[in-house]
């Protein structure tokens, strides 16, 4: 065989090292300038008072009972939320992981829909649901459980309900990433070896899925601890969380030093949680790798023996319970009680937002049941210059963010997947910093920076901030696309005479195109839903849609907001469906 010589290189290729630097540079620059630098600035600010070094901010923070109470409550709400979200999410993730591909997608759709529906919209839905004349109160009265409306809102449970509802999809998706990698043959093997279903689950499946449980818990916890929407909208005066203090300090008193101290404390807690997690479980489990225990020959620790005994006990107990019921014959499908539980849970996840939709068309206000039909709320939105300019701004910012994030993130993804270089893990960790860092800290930092360089209230400021948040998701999405792409196709095309550019255009892009569009849409959605950055850096007439919604919700609840929320929800639904169709077509 003779090889047709490759077309001679027209110019001297860059050295590998400098090409790699060039690919990572935009993202590194972005994160250093708009994430690390502002955060460092906050750190310094927190140690200042009246222009000099001072510990006063921290003394005030740690010395005032109110703040300590808030911190304890923040931890309590986050822990309770985490426990409920993980326990409720586990069966869902488990069911998805054992279903055949076709059915998997259907459940995953509902999870993703919830995942991408903005927190604000979901919080608003709960307000309507739990209100004095909301669905829940009406239901309780109809059932005769209560005869007057009871106060379901403005208390601890309402906050936790809202937050569990908000974070359940995150818990499910994180656990799922681990469960998908568990070989289904293992539990089948256990059953041929004599293990009853309960025992096979607790001794084999559960320990293997445990890294998913812990990483799910970690993700939920660090997200929950930075929440302010739910305590602000669903909580009473007592349910204040730590980020609300930051908002209050900045917006009402402009006390940068103290706000920074609170932000630093929040960051320290988050980092502490990560460190503890790394000590106990190891951060490497986050990537979905199975975590075989380190081969420590000899005796096993007391904890693992206790754990083993507990699992054995759970196994026996489950099998005893299962034994009480007649055995089903169709062994191949998923257990029916599990399907039932998950169906109910998915309904509870989706219903609040769905119930809001008819109210946006009702003449009767937000009272349940909806009566009459009107489009006036929608007309009001479309005739309102405030809402229309907010919509325009959100679209422009979202689109620009998506383009920018894709331009910056894609080279990094290529580098991570294709590049031969040391320090990939470090680069990935660096890329994921915006995910780990509570958005509130980023927002305050950016606000401070923007105030100095005149970016407050500008689209550019928003776009940059949103790009910082969106870039990690773009990198991860494109990475997963590239991992599934067979690079030999490129080599084949080039060996057949295609230039690198034509290879990219005719072979690579058509194949990974759908994945790139998914990444684009994710970035767009992130920006379109983003509230925290917009909270500070888009003010007055220059609000984005979420910011406008937030301002109005804080003032009063009206059916107009239900209409806005409905629009937002439908918009996300369309995007999710589009991504789903794209991915399906690619297969």
């Amino acid at each position: 065989m003779t090889a047709i010589p490759a077309p001679a290189a027209t110019r001297r290729p860059m050295s590998r090292r400098s090409r790699q630097l060039l690919m990572a540079a935009p993202m590194v620059l972005l994160l250093v300038t708009f994430l690390i630098y502002p955060s460092a600035q906050l750190f310094l600010l927190s140690f200042q008072k009246g222009g000099g070094f001072s510990l006063e901010n921290y003394q005030r923070l740690l010395g005032t009972p109110v703040y300590l109470t808030v911190m304890m409550l923040t931890l309590k709400i986050s822990v309770v939320t985490t426990i409920f979200a993980v326990i409720a999410g586990y069966p869902v993730a488990y069911l998805i992981s054992i279903l055949p591909k076709a059915k998997k997608g259907r459940i995953l759709f509902w999870i993703l829909l919830s995942f991408w529906t903005s927190f604000l919209v979901r919080a608003f839905a709960w307000i309507i649901l739990l209100g004095r004349n909301g669905v829940v109160n009406k239901l309780l009265q109809t059932l005769g459980i209560s005869d007057a409306p009871i106060a379901l809102m403005y208390n601890f449970s309402a906050v936790v309900i809202g937050m569990v509802h908000a974070l359940l999809p995150l818990a499910v998706l994180t656990m799922l990433s681990v469960m998908e990698n568990i070989d289904r043959n293992l539990t089948r093997a256990a059953s041929t070896l004599g293990a009853k279903p309960g025992m096979a689950f607790w001794k084999i499946y559960f320990p293997l899925s445990f890294p998913g449980v812990t990483s799910g818990a970690l993700m939920v916890f660090v997200t929950a601890i930075g929440f302010f929407i739910f305590p602000a909208l669903l909580g009473g005066r007592r349910e204040t969380m730590i980020t609300q203090i930051i908002i209050e300090q900045i917006i009402q008193t402009m006390n940068w030093g103290f706000a920074s101290a609170v932000a630093v404390l929040l960051l320290v807690v988050v980092l502490l949680v990560f460190v503890l997690y790394d000590r106990a479980v190891g951060l490497s489990t986050m990537t979905g790798e199975s975590s075989a225990r380190k081969g420590r020959p000899g005796r096993k620790g007391i904890f693992s023996r206790i754990g083993d005994a507990i699992l054995t006990g759970l196994g026996h107990a489950s099998d005893a319970i299962i034994g009480l019921f007649p055995r089903r014959r169709a062994r191949e499908g998923a257990p029916r009680p599990l399907v039932g539980f998950v169906t109910v849970l998915l309904a509870v996840m989706t219903l609040p937002v769905l119930l809001m939709i008819p109210l946006s068309f009702a003449e009767s206000g937000l009272n349940w049941p909806p009566q009459g039909f009107t489009l006036k709320w929608y007309q009001q939105i479309f005739n309102s210059p405030i809402w229309m300019s907010a919509l325009t701004r959100s679209l422009v910012v979202g689109f620009s963010t998506a383009v920018l994030a894709l331009l910056i993130g894609t080279p990094v993804a290529f580098l991570m997947v294709r590049g031969r270089m040391r320090g990939k893990t470090a680069l990935l960790a660096f890329t994921l910093m915006p995910v780990v860092m509570p958005n509130m800290i980023l927002s305050v930092g950016l606000f401070y920076l923007y105030a100095k360089i005149g970016l407050v209230g500008t689209n550019l400021g928003l776009i940059i901030g949103h790009t910082v948040i969106a870039v990690p998701y773009v990198v991860l999405t494109v990475m997963s696309v590239l991992r599934n792409y067979d690079t030999r196709l490129d080599l084949a095309a080039q060996s057949l005479g295609a230039t690198p550019i034509r290879t990219l255009r005719l072979v690579t892009l058509p194949i990974i195109g759908a994945g790139m569009i998914s990444a684009f849409l994710f970035a767009f959605t992130i920006s379109f839903d983003e509230l925290t950055i917009a909270l500070f850096t888009s003010g007055g007439m220059s609000a984005t849609l979420p910011k406008q919604l937030w301002d109005e919700v804080s003032l009063s609840i009206s059916p107009l907001l239900a209409a806005v929320s409905t629009c937002l929800f439908l918009f996300v639904t369309v995007l999710i469906v589009a991504v789903g169709l794209l991915n399906r077509r690619q297969k």
């Binding site: 293992l186 059953s191 004599g194 009853k196 320990p207 199975s290």
Partner: protein
Amino acid sequence: MSTLETQGLGKVYGDFVALAPTDLKVEKGEFLTLLGPSGSGKTTLLSLIAGLAEADSGRILMNDRDVTHAAPYQRDIGMMFQNYALFPHMTIAENIAFPLKMRGTPAAEIKRLVQEALDMVRLPHIADRFPKELSGGQQQRVALARCTIYRPSVILMDEPLGALDKKLRDQMQFEILRIHKEIGGTIVYVTHDQEEAMTMSDRICLMNGGRIAQLGSPADLYFRPQSLFVADFLGEANLLEGRLVSGADGEGVVRLGDASEIRVTLPRPLDHGAAVKVMLRPQNIRLEDTPGEGLNARLRSWSVTGASTKFFLDAPALGSEPLIATRATAMSHDAPEPGRDYRLSFDPRDAVAIPADEAA
């Protein structure tokens, strides 16, 4: 009493018949292999026996007990999976001890048995390691120890050696046979590798399109195929077209396309005049240097394939397909010229007539 018996056992997925109603009896201590091309229903049959899939028709009896609807853990089986399915979070000792623990064996007894099992698979020193730390071959042995330690009455193996390279595979075949002898268990073994099936099995159950094509000893299937599929699937076969002229008592005469007549074996009675194909294995054809009476052929080409040399021949009786004959390779043989004529001779016992119209 057979250890395992299926009666009309069938499985459908939607309207696709993965396993047509199948009768199969496996005797105690037997090594039975399910052989067949990919998609022929081997795994389906094995899964039904293991209880990992639910039968749509028929019954499964184990030691005369109906286990058709019993859960896997209620059947007295052991199963070896293709990817080993070792529990990654348990040590080797824990993996092997698992079935004993499930059966409530006392701890001291478990310890002794696990060590015995490890000795049996010749891995005495790896008890405290984790599956990840072992090579493929070692994992294989551990999987073998795990599914045999509790002496199940039937051991099922689904292409257990599929992932190993050739050398290791040969070694493991030998190991499995040795352990089969040592514990005297009954094994139902799945493979799509005919050589492996021939080497290891007492009987082979050759499957095709969800049904049994032929069931018998390796020699039976090889020398007395009852259908073209079987003849073609096991080893190389020349198939000569013709019609049965006469036949009785398992012997007969077939007239080939060029009107020459040859003596053949009839594994089962066939009508006179029936269209048949005569199977001749390449190694059973002798090439006589002097053309004469009977089948003649002209050399097209030849090639050395290792231990044997292959001759591709054109014969008027055969149509366009070349006839293949093999000879042991030896330096003493001359290199023959293509175009040279040979007379073909063979023992009638090696020429098997198979009905030609039978669907493959």
